[in-house]
Symmetry: D2
Subunit: 343 residues, 4 copies
């Protein structure tokens, strides 16, 4: 067995315009359990999109972009359905940026000998395979970009914007890219744990080998997201998975209060997750619980307990076809921040 | 607050012919995680339907019919996509037969005071409400049917066939009914724990108040399902949820061996479930594990970890539109058994 | 590889008197999440045991006896902590009775080739191995017992009592046996889906090969459990897992109402489960939801979301050492029923 | 209802020396399912502790310290059972440091109106209540500490060490504190998403109101953890929950490779979690999967699927009583880094 025997069947990204989820969603709305919950979340999504004064913040956790959801998320950016993004690093760097570099994810299987994969230089995410050598190129591209930057502290948003600029200059080797689309549309992307991914490898290499280097200030991320909340005031959150992106984004309401400029709670909130509340962890904590913290308004909130590859294509297809987003304009929230430039 | 304030918004059953899940399923097949698993299960389903010598056994556990899946299941029966059914009692009696009597399930909410519901005579299933008085009518209809029967032991299949005959005579007050469709198509329905539902209430009432009464012989259920396996030989299983129906149906292969007439393992097997294998319980046990017991062949098996209201409409819509079932004939497996008659 | 290489390391049953869980439980009570829930369930258990007028009904679902919990359950019977049992068939026949015949379960591994196990005649439950030949002996012992019985419909309770008598005569080849202990203490055991286990194989063999045979009347099970409720009036339920045993036992309150002799709801209720309410299935439905049906009083109820092998030894050890059961007497509820005899 | 009616029953931390989990763990080892898995994880833990050349890295995710596990974790630090910690911010700042300031968590209930809690200024974590005013004091203490620091980029480890020094000077108002114990023992604590917690609020306030301020460089965290791996070479990981701490810690092996100084995979690895692998997210990904990435050796690895409040007291009590840690010395890994000082 060699590498090419395992890396040949490419994961393809769902095209949510290629089917119309509206009739299905209408049926789900009249059923029960998670079907009805998904339809309720869908309805809130459309209401949020129709509320053109409300900034939509998308949060991403879990291996979404490797799993075929990249283009659905890019479509949301390209059509003003998203005004800011908070994500785990892996989705943005190891998966989206990685594919923009021309690399791909491959269909694999969970029932395989992982020691054998290790010998072959293949990394596994459940049923998906990745060429480790290609991932190393991605890491080093980050190191290279860091090397071109004026030393001094950057937010992850700063850095990711420059990744977008880099792609814009070199060319995007994928049909769609979240990083690139966000760059073009002025949509800020935050990764509050930016070193916890391929970017971390590249940046450690960068810092290790340079006297003058680029730190990534995670406080700046939170400060900037707070600035956005102060600017836009009304916000809704569209959450896929939980983790740091969920917590970080919910917290921003409290941050405005801490600064003495209290803003309203998130007006709309949906979450697609498989986690539940029983272990007390944040990922599965209810959106009602978030209300006790003053973070989320309970008027329009819905959790959907479903794995994201199943639910997200339906909710985005429904929203796209329904067209409530058509009156939305580009908010270009990156405009709020001084543009950092490459050296 | 009174009963009518809560019981007005009816749960409606999904019409899988009203949308075409094929393009979505094609996309899922190229993604990862549960989307790809669902597409794989869908592919096995179509292969099983195209295998006209193979009897398809459907197993039902969980509150499926109250949740809007009744018509999708009835459609499978009406179109020869199912040759035998093994179910929990609630799906067949409390939910399908109940709706055939003209009663309905209502959209409710999980966040409600259950003591208040009790006062009002409303029963709750997560987010669904039921009129307890109507359920009592259902119980008593079962007692009435039992009262018309010649005393002596019956299998649950016998009894459910007579429920179908009763509906055929009195008229079905719903667009579709599993019990009635199965009666018309000669499809046997087994409930191995038949007293664990509304039928139990009716039958306890019947036995309590009659000297000569009808026992339900649960061994006869297993014996009859074994007869079916001996007759059809090749079988595939389409499982929604786990529980008794899953175990009972898998076991039938071993039963043929015990009788000295060993038949092949189930050739195809899919399961839609939210359970997992980590607690060692049968509901979430893998289909590979079932192979160690000699029950399920591992060639065509796929588990999909998803709640049924989301997954089943997609898989049945795909199958219906793809049309592999069109060459299937009625197997009318009820023909294998002597017809029990009402007194 | 041969059978003996895999079947040598025996699963041993936890001895809950060998350690004292009280200090741990006291700590859990002051913590949060499932630790606090477990301590709350423990407190309700002790309260229920101290309430000597209240009959305790134990429900069993999942592979508990194969997993080392058999002796903990037998100890509850031996010490009057349990007055009736409702169980899946596998726990009673394939696992407890099987070990009483002198057979054992073996420690195995989930990561093994199930086709290879099949070749060797080894059955797998997650990480546990069983000798299929020994299981066949168990099946046939059931057939043999059925063959000694006067033809006519029996409840599963009837039958299991005779299994206990058989063991009493032939000798129990295990330190403890649930079936045997229940026989000695007059504790009824119900398996509402009795043919869904090793008993099913034996009974199908029996019915297949005899003109005059023994049917198992599942309605009789429900009728008898209702008689118990009418007799004892106050009841508490100690549930391990969900499934048919949970539903069946909760339903008995409603059954008394149907018969026009309404009894109080279950006064105490605890459940140890990994299921949750999000799919609307009964196994994970909340005990508060059961109140809407008039089944469970919400005053003393607690769900604990934990796998049973971890939680049950703690809760039983705490109860045993605390000694609230010491004033309980044998209720010998089998006395309510005419004794069926072997031919 | 006022605040004091709800905030009076304090969450107490489990004292794992107050009971001896060894006999229980010995029983678990001979059972099945998660009991046996927990015992296996316990055995690996003891083996890892006995391996005095191996540095133990503890990862923390989920609300552990608010739930009564703080002292068990502090005990591990105080007795050289832990050489480095990677955590979510909430455990370290909102919960441990918060209690060290003299504040407490309170027992509450999940079934409460969150809007009412919001009115009262009470924050909820599942069944636990927090006084929001006290949390604001915690936030501002972080701002105060930041204000004393020499401007310039710090790692979260740097910052948390200074929090420990601050506590050492002002006095710890709790029996045990993770932050303080780690300070005294030279144990580094990393929070790779440091602004995603109470520290974030304090630091945003600090940066907002100061021209010269303290950035937190998340790359420095990763660089420093890599330095630790290069120094100690052999490592084992003891993971509670998943999330960023799990990923970050596993990644460090790859980071040494990127720097051209490849170190061995983590030699031992256990994880206590409720997540599973089926959604492809990192939190529930198997430790075998981590081997394909070259992160974790599969020789000594075990996942335990159990909520942490139940499992952690058992595993730490067993380890403490077994005493394999007694030959371990303080590694004082903070010594590897230049000491940052307050202004």
């Amino acid at each position: 067995m060699n590498k090419n025997d395992l890396l040949y069947d490419v994961v393809r990204h769902v095209d949510v315009t290629g089917f119309d989820a509206r009739p299905l969603m209408r049926s789900y709305a009249d059923m029960a359990f998670q079907a009805r919950n998904l339809a309720a979340a869908s309805k809130i999504t459309n209401k949020m999109l129709a509320d053109t004064d409300c900034a939509v913040i998308l949060t991403l956790a879990g291996s979404l972009c490797s799993a075929g959801l990249k283009d659905a998320i890019a479509l949301m950016i390209e059509n003003n359905m998203v005004d800011a993004i908070v994500s785990t690093g892996a989705n943005i760097v190891d998966q989206d940026f990685f594919e923009a570099l021309g690399f791909r994810h491959y269909k694999g299987s969970p029932g395989i000998d992982d020691n054998a994969l290790r010998e072959l230089g293949i990394d596994r995410i459940y049923d998906t395979f990745i060429d480790e050598d290609e991932l190393r190129v991605c890491d080093m591209t980050i190191a290279e970009i860091a090397g071109t930057m004026v030393p001094g502290a950057y937010s992850s948003r700063d850095f990711i914007r420059l990744m977008g600029a880099w792609l814009d200059e070199k060319g995007v080797k994928a049909d769609h890219s979240i990083v690139h689309a966000a760059y073009k549309k002025g949509v800020p992307i935050f990764c509050p744990a930016f070193s916890d991914c391929s970017a971390g490898f590249g940046l450690v290499h960068h810092q290790w080998n340079n006297k003058q280097y680029v730190p990534i200030d995670s406080v700046a991320d939170f400060r900037e997201l707070t600035q956005i909340k102060l600017d836009v005031q009304e916000t809704g959150i569209f959450m896929i998975g939980g983790g740091v992106p969920k917590n970080f984004t919910q917290d921003v309401v409290v941050a405005t209060d801490i600064l003495g400029e209290e803003q309203p709670m998130h007006k709309y909130a949906i979450q697609i997750t498989v986690a539940d509340e029983r272990d007390g962890a944040l990922s599965g904590s209810t959106l009602k619980e978030a209300c006790s913290w003053g973070k989320v308004n309970t008027m329009y909130e819905q959790m959907v307990f479903c794995e994201a590859t199943l639910a997200l294509p339906l909710i985005v297809s429904d929203a796209w076809h329904r067209g409530e987003w058509k009156d939305r304009r580009e908010m270009r929230l990156n405009r709020l921040f001084r543009e950092r430039v490459q050296a």
